[in-house]
């Protein structure tokens, strides 16, 4: 089931899949491509690294270019501050030929938590320069609103630490972000199971970004498909309208006039 009537708008492009896939950690390029195809995603992240003449196969440009209808979104991983992230974004734009950039600045290798101050500075500068900016952020509703005002195309709060599989540990904060946001809210990082993706969509998220959960699965293509189903299920459930919660039982069968 596709949500044809409600595409996700990021910048000036519409996406019919609400699953975004990272391309890191896959055992090999073929496995990665199979996972991308199985996920149905139209948006994948890539990273910039030094060209290595001894490992020309590391280059992802050729296999990714063969995927039809898939938008590349370079990230700024490795950047320690706003200036480095801006430079990485400019290099990424050179290579991808598009304005999409995932701003991520996480200088501490132990927890990889995004630096909110440097992230804000980079995102503001890049948005003013015409980039379609999707910043990876702590689940902070104040920061999210400021990034919206700075011209970001979406905000991407973390569910848990990168690669941890900790799930939607920030759910309450993400709900606050969703409540006030007029731009898409995308959960990025920390998810492990498709049920968590479904829950994020039921909560009101506009999309979900996963990488490790798919790349580190026993069967990455199978898990990519499962996440696609999770995202679609959660979105469809939200569109259908969840029933109200009650603290007490509400009978679903008549309780009166039995054998009277």
């Amino acid at each position: 089931m596709k949500n044809e009537k409600q595409p996700l708008l990021l910048g000036n492009r519409e996406f019919h899949s609400r699953l975004i896939l990272g391309t890191g950690k896959f055992s090999d390029t073929k496995t990665m491509i199979q996972a991308i195809e199985a996920s149905g995603t139209e948006l994948v992240t890539v990273a910039l690294r030094r060209f290595n003449p001894d490992k020309p196969d590391d280059d992802l440009c050729t296999p990714l270019a063969e995927l039809k209808g898939v938008q590349l979104m370079p990230n700024t991983s490795g950047a320690m501050n706003a200036a480095e992230a801006v430079r990485a974004a400019q290099l990424g734009r050179e290579l991808s030929g598009s304005s999409f950039v995932k701003v991520e600045i996480h200088p501490n290798p132990h927890h990889l938590m995004p630096d909110p101050i440097e992230t804000y500075a980079a995102a503001k500068e890049l948005a003013a320069d015409g980039f379609t900016v999707l910043p990876y952020i702590p689940a902070d509703p104040v920061l999210a609103k400021k990034l919206e005002d700075a011209g970001c195309a979406a905000v991407m709060p973390l569910g848990a630490a990168i690669g941890s599989g900790g799930g939607l540990s920030t759910a309450d904060m993400i709900k606050l972000i969703i409540r006030d946001s007029t731009i898409p809210v995308i959960v990025d990082a920390g998810l492990r199971a498709p049920s968590e993706a479904a829950r994020a969509m039921e909560m009101g998220c506009d999309a979900v970004l996963v990488n490790s959960a798919v790349a580190a699965a026993a069967n990455p293509a199978g898990m990519a498909q499962a996440f696609a189903l999770g995202v679609e299920t959660g979105f469809a459930a939200r569109q259908a309208g969840l029933m109200p919660k009650s603290d007490i039982a509400v009978a679903s069968s008549p309780l009166t006039s039995f054998l009277n």
Binding site: G22, T23, G24, K25, F26, M32, T45, V46, A47, L48, R49, R50, F51, P53, P56, D58, D59, L60, C61, T62, L64, L72, P74, N75, S77, R87, Q90, L91, G92, E94, L95, S96, I162, G163, A189, L209, N211, S212
Partner: protein, 66 residues
Amino acid sequence: MKLQVNGKEHEHTGDGTVAALVHEVGATPEHTALTVNGSVIPSAEWTQAKLNDGDQVEILTFVGGG
């Protein structure tokens, strides 16, 4: 001329343009982006952009990332 390419010393024997250096290291031009002394040089300028002795060049490409 002596350059620093991706953090290593590199003896450039070509015509001193960025385009010649990219060719020399074996990178595929359309899969490559680079900076010279920290400034991004757009690929359209590579055939004109001259390198100088001691320049620090970073040659980058896409790899997997989340």
